[in-house]
Amino acid sequence: MLIELFLTFFMVGTVSFGGGYAMIPLIQEEVLNRYHWMEASQLADIVAVAGMSPGPIAANIAVAVGYHQAGIFGAIVASLAIILPSLILILAAGKLFFRFRDNALVKSSFFGLRPTVAGMIIYAAIVFAQHSGMTTDFNWFTWSQILIFAGSLGALVFLRKHPISVVLISGLVGIALYG
């Protein structure tokens, strides 16, 4: 279990270009489909909590998944795994980074990587949407979920609300609607 935790998050740490949210598909694939560690709804809860607390979202998810699976020891193993690739890269390459960054090949690979990452994030949203009940039958629950989604997105994009406040307000809405 600890080895699986380590391998999963080491892989996530190694390829995490473009911010933590881009890594959610990879985490979904390993945690849900490969190892069946938890339900999709539980992972969605973890992402919510991870998005609300300070620090990098992928690292937060690693800590929480590790903790759920194997307690404090699991959390430590998962954190080490996700941090180790950065540490190795920076210690190994050091000053080389400055030259490496201006390399034309590296620049053009990022040109392709960025839109790919956008596509990956959209996929992550689709997976969680499918499990949230937004795409099931057309009953009032589905509609309420779609409305909550649209309202949250609007608050983030147009009102520029911080994710913490959006999540907290959404929680209150949930208690009012479903409680």
């Binding site: 690979s109 990022f110 790919t116 596509g119 959006v166």
Partner: protein, 199 residues
């Protein structure tokens, strides 16, 4: 030896204090780093720090973690890197453990269950928002738009996400090469992409 340990200790404490600032995400850390590392401690110049943060954004991993490690390394070698890393990560780690504990404790409460039923729809919005933000700087023309769509379709088709990273990098190199061959120029980067709190 003693002086060395003292320096490592102060590197650790400096980054420990910055931990809470990562609330705004990796890039929210920049003003805090400038203030502590450049103005107060005078460990590095403002120019050096700016360069290191830029580089940290273009290697795998979280910007906050990468820049802390990099800056610690520049100040005091491997020991400095470890001290800075520990300092920046410890607060987040502790908080996440605390939140996980609370979540496990209360998740079966009917009120909390109801709250999370709604929050799960909000998580989809959070992720969609991340996609919109990165899409703005990444999807600049038809080709990049197509790349994004293909990536999403491949994943829906069941491809393991790890291949997508290789696919994106190779596609980028291919597209730029092809355009150069046809005598077209590709604007690779207009400005530094800002990912905000999502790193």
């Amino acid at each position: 030896m003693n002086v060395k340990w003292q320096q490592l200790g102060s590197i650790f404490l400096t980054f420990l204090k910055m931990g809470p600032f990562t609330f705004g995400g990796g890039y929210a850390l920049i003003p805090a780093i400038e203030r502590e590392i450049v103005d107060k401690r005078k460990w590095l110049s403002s120019r050096e720090v700016a360069d290191m943060i830029t580089v940290s954004g273009s290697v795998p991993g979280a910007v906050a973690v990468n820049s802390a490690t990099f800056i610690g390394y520049r100040i005091a070698g491997v020991g400095g890197a470890l001290a800075a890393l520990l300092g920046i990560f410890l607060p987040t780690f502790a908080l996440m453990i605390g939140l996980s504990l609370v979540y496990l404790h209360i998740k079966d409460n009917p009120k909390v269950e109801a709250a999370f039923l709604s929050i799960r729809a909000t998580v989809v919005a959070l992720i969609a928002y991340a996609a919109i933000k990165i899409g703005k700087s990444a999807i600049v023309d038809f080709t990049t738009g197509a790349l994004g769509a293909i990536a999403c379709l491949l994943l829906l088709g069941g491809i393991h996400p790890i291949w997508l990273v290789a696919f994106g990098a190779l596609a980028g190199i291919g597209v730029v090469k092809l355009r150069t061959l046809r005598g077209k120029k590709t604007k690779l980067e207009e400005e530094e992409p800002v990912y905000d709190y999502m790193i």
